[in-house]
Symmetry: C2
Subunit: 244 residues, 2 copies
């Protein structure tokens, strides 16, 4: 008998962000597969299940293992921080699933950092927005650059994932410079670090100041559109509902 495979977005960490369906999938799973850091975010009841975790870069190996286990009859959950689909494992699992056609795949969405981070800063993505990862591990910088330029030109509110790391200390500044070429340096901006985890921190600032900040991979950055204002320390990207 074949097992079920769940690809589960667990949200940013704190259990309060997890959906009921995500919780139900983890309850049903006999085996939990994920990046070690995300496995550590799970609450104790799930950590006592069988766990297969590997480090960064082990994505294809983890996903193949999960498909094999599900094919052999074991209900398996692949966990993703945030959403299952937004920079998550859903695309990789579906790509690899061609070799495991007998496995039923259930993709369970979760609260991605664009949503959880936005709620911490106010309402920075209250109108059209673009989400861009600055990580060059899987995408060449030229493509990222082009997307930053187009997002700024289109006057989107912009959410940046993976703004910088030890290996690429300059990507956030480079991105801010591209965007401020269109918007100027006074554009409202902010970031949230460790959303829903210990030592969460937030700051609302300007694009000019953001460019020189030292952030990390656990930080999500928000840059306003021309409609974004700052009020009582919150970023607000309004749609005009007839108020003034």
């Amino acid at each position: 008998m074949k097992g079920e495979l769940y690809v589960v977005g667990i949200g940013p960490g704190d259990e309060g962000y997890m959906t009921r369906d995500a919780g139900a999938a983890l309850d049903k799973a006999e085996l939990i597969v994920g990046y070690s850091l995300y496995v550590n975010l799970l609450c104790e009841q799930y950590k006592s299940k069988s766990i297969y975790s590997t480090g960064m870069g082990g994505e294809a190996d983890r996903c193949r293992y999960a498909l094999q286990q599900a094919a052999s009859g074991i209900n398996t959950a692949v966990i993703c921080s945030g959403d299952a689909g937004v920079y998550g494992m859903a695309s990789l699992i579906l790509d690899l699933s061609k070799e495991y056609e007998e496995v039923d795949i259930n993709i369970i969405p979760g609260i991605t950092a664009a949503l959880s981070g936005a709620a911490k800063l106010g309402a920075p993505i209250g109108n059209d927005f673009a989400v861009i990862s600055l990580s060059t591990v899987l995408t060449p910088w030229e493509r990222i650059e082009k997307r930053l330029k187009c997002a700024a030109e289109g006057d989107f509110a912009i959410v940046l994932y993976n703004p910088m790391s030890h290996h690429r200390p300059d990507t956030l500044k480079a991105a801010c410079d591209i965007i401020s070429g269109h918007t100027g340096c006074d554009r409202a901006a902010g970031y949230v670090r460790n959303i829903g985890r210990d030592e969460e921190s937030t700051e609302v600032t300007t694009l000019g100041k953001l460019a020189d900040m030292k952030l990390d991979m656990f930080t999500t950055v928000f840059i306003g559109s021309s409609d974004t204002g700052i009020c009582n320390g919150k970023m607000i990207t309004g749609r005009k509902y007839g108020i003034e």
Copy 2:
């Protein structure tokens, strides 16, 4: 004593998509405020609370009422379908809250249609993406046009909210034409109607065919980037994890 004001993203409808925090906020609320259609999506236990609902266009009125009630000591939840911040009431509540500084505002994110719809279609937003509403009620068409053009030029996967309505039967076709000017008509596309509700339906197709479809306000549209393929009827926007 002042009350709490919760701005709650309840997800697409089905309770399984609701986060634990959203459920806890609705439990604590003595009064629930929302667009009539969304109030109807709530399960019975919440419908038996005090409800203030109005139709489309009554957003500012509803939000002012909610702030007044919270200021007078009543724990109040303003509900939003999907997320609280993405085309939700968070920005309007924060805008209006200047007059109610004594009210504590808690924004609780929810699963927006970009995430829930993506999970139904596979993994169409597995890499950088842009979210654009085609509704001209609060945004002039010229700005929407410009964003469509920039999103296509930047090779984003694109999610369209409010693709068409009785009042604007031509916006979806106009949007598809702008995008296909950059991508061609064979680009992978799909839609999900009534996500997580009765009569949910999905289709995976091409941008050329999508342009001539009759959809509605309850439909979310996905248009792939140059990295999006269709496999076993699913849209997959891969990041390359070293598999081939």
